[in-house]
């Protein structure tokens, strides 16, 4: 029983790290540009497929991952440049932005299905199912990679945002777009940087979760839902809140199978979300960026 519990907790933390990076990158772009970027889930999926496709051509893991990240960044730039910037120019309402984003999500998911395959696929790495023993717990190699790479990238995003000139400029745009415009920070360019960084990073969990489990074009929305619930529960605008809340949510979700069937784990997250918006709509951590909802 305790072993099972421990395993569920570890599983939850691993998944949480992957979702945490999705959440942190979503929160990063959201707090910078104010766009509710649902298509982030589409980038996540598409990058996973790109990496898979590369490996079918015999390209090794690391270059495949890098190619997927590059494709992710490119997709982000295209989405921002061709759609969001245009919509902002014609002063589209948030509702219209969101519908546009849903359009992009649909396009990306189905391009993946058409170009690659609509069926469930798995990576052919021999190390995919190899286990690593850490004391009483076993981790698969992909799980270990998630556990190392995702928190690392999250920390990198934090450091970038706080300690580099570009990161600070992006944050300045986030806290006050009008002022930033006056001071020649060119918010539109900052939005492009922010989405490129977010999209390149989201490729990593996209690929790793794909290797760990399997891939299917339409499942990423569930991951995004958990991620965005974490963003809200963690306090919108707080990357740290988003990341750790994802881990907490995933762990709760994973452990909840002891009490309710695993088929209801999505409902568990949703119930937590409802409780949050009823009890503490501003989230656990006070927001860092002051972006009005």
């Amino acid at each position: 029983m305790t072993m099972l519990f421990l395993h569920l907790v570890v599983d939850g933390i691993v998944t949480g790290c992957a979702i945490g990076l999705v959440a942190a990158t979503f929160a990063y772009f959201y707090s910078t540009s104010g766009t509710f970027h649902v298509a982030h889930a589409g980038v996540y999926t598409f990058c996973g497929y790109v990496a898979w496709y590369c490996t079918t051509w015999g390209i090794p893991f690391v270059p495949s991952l890098l190619i997927a990240m590059g494709v992710g960044a490119l997709l982000g730039v295209i989405i921002q440049g061709l759609l969001y910037a245009r919509l902002a120019q014609i002063k589209a309402s948030p509702l219209v932005m969101l519908i546009g984003s849903i359009g992009v999500l649909t396009v990306l998911q189905n391009l993946a299905a058409i170009f690659f395959t609509p069926n469930i696929i798995q990576f052919e790495f021999p190390w995919r199912i190899a286990n690593v023993e850490l004391g009483p717990i076993f981790l698969s190699v992909p799980q270990l990679l998630i556990l190392i790479l995702c928190p690392l990238l999250y920390v990198a995003l934090l450091l970038f945002s706080s300690y580099t000139a570009l990161g600070r400029q992006i944050r300045a745009v986030a806290s006050n777009p009008e002022l930033a415009q006056i001071t020649h920070l060119r918010p539109r360019r900052m939005f492009i940087y922010a989405i490129a960084i977010s999209s390149a990073m989201v490729a990593v969990p996209g690929v790793l979760v794909g290797i760990d489990q399997a891939m299917q074009p339409y499942t990423s929305l569930i991951i995004l839902l958990t991620a965005v619930v974490a963003v809200i529960a963690g306090g919108i605008g707080s990357l740290t809140g988003a990341f750790f809340m994802s881990i907490a949510l995933s762990t709760i979700q994973s452990v909840s199978v002891l009490l309710v069937s695993g088929r209801w784990s999505l409902a568990v997250v949703f119930v937590i979300f409802i409780v949050f918006i009823l009890v503490r709509p501003e989230g656990l951590v006070k927001r860092k960026f002051s972006r009005e909802l």
Partner: protein, 286 residues
């Protein structure tokens, strides 16, 4: 001929769901990507009631009431808050509803679905074929359209427009915004439930896939291409979009490609509309 009737029946059913979405999104500006889930609640409620021997009209009424309640209850926590919370609630409602349809096997038959839903019967006349069912779906669409029209014309309708344009100004003039929103989520839910019940009665088989998020996106696409806030838009949209799969059968696509290609077209339509034609074909700008 039967094929054409069948197409019209389905388009009319989706027109009802599109009007439901239009009322929320177009008129009041409340985002919803869960209309298929609400439609599904109506469909399952109807199927269960009809299987228990409840006649068509009361079963339909029950389905509408259940769908209205579900729509209102899921919306309630976030109606008080602005924008983005509602987006998540809406996505969450859709995804959780699909999970419920798949997993609450006693009522829904699980992933395999519910076959053999009783045929619609009013005053001893059964409506089996598409040609016969067309009567029911046309009358239902007529009634929904009429009520939508009188709703928008009434002082309440003006209030809904005002809420979309400036919620704070509405509150400042003494109106109860929350109450108005609860009212509209009930009406919209009832419309979607009506669509769902008709769908169940007509197809006589429902499964979770009939009401998943792709269907919600399809309904949004119908509203966007038709245009917000007009009846013509909400009726035109479904007829156009349901014709796409028919056109696709002319191309020789492999069976695994048909679904994705269809979805891809919906996605492209959404993008093209928001950028170049936000008012759709016969409506107003969102």
């Amino acid at each position: 001929m039967n094929f054409l009737f069948s197409f019209i029946v389905l388009a009319e059913i989706f027109a009802i769901v599109a009007i439901s979405t239009n009322l929320l999104m177009g008129v009041v500006g409340i985002f919803s990507v869960a209309q298929a889930a609400i439609m599904g609640c109506g469909a399952y409620a109807y199927a269960v009631l009809a299987a228990a021997g409840v006649p068509f009209v009361p079963a339909m009424g029950g389905a509408m009431m259940i769908a209205a309640s579900v729509n209102m209850l899921t919306a309630l926590p976030s109606l008080r808050l602005a924008g983005d919370y509602f987006v998540i609630t809406s996505f969450g409602t859709q995804l959780v509803a699909t999970a419920v349809f798949i997993n609450w096997v006693v009522f829904t038959g699980g992933a395999a679905g519910l076959p053999g839903i009783p045929v619609a019967e009013i005053f001893g006349i059964s409506f089996v074929t598409a040609g016969e069912f067309l009567w029911i779906s046309s009358v239902a669409l007529g009634l929904v359209a009429l009520s939508f029209w009188s709703l928008l014309r009434s002082p309440y309708g003006k209030l809904l427009h005002a809420i979309r344009l400036d919620e704070i100004a509405v509150a400042a003039s003494g109106r109860k915004v929350l109450r108005a929103k609860i009212g509209v989520s009930l009406v919209s839910g009832a419309y979607a439930g009506c669509g769902g019940a008709l769908y169940a009665a007509y197809i006589s088989f429902i499964d979770p896939v009939s009401f998943d998020i792709h269907v919600s996106v399809l309904v949004i696409t119908m509203v966007v291409i038709g245009g917000a806030r007009t009846l013509a838009g909400s009726i035109l949209g479904p007829f156009l979009l349901l014709a796409i799969p028919q056109v696709l059968t002319l191309l020789e696509l492999s069976s695994t490609q048909v679904g994705p290609v269809r979805q891809l077209i919906y996605g492209l339509i959404l993008i093209v509309c928001v950028v170049w034609r936000p008012q759709g074909l016969a409506g107003r700008s969102l």
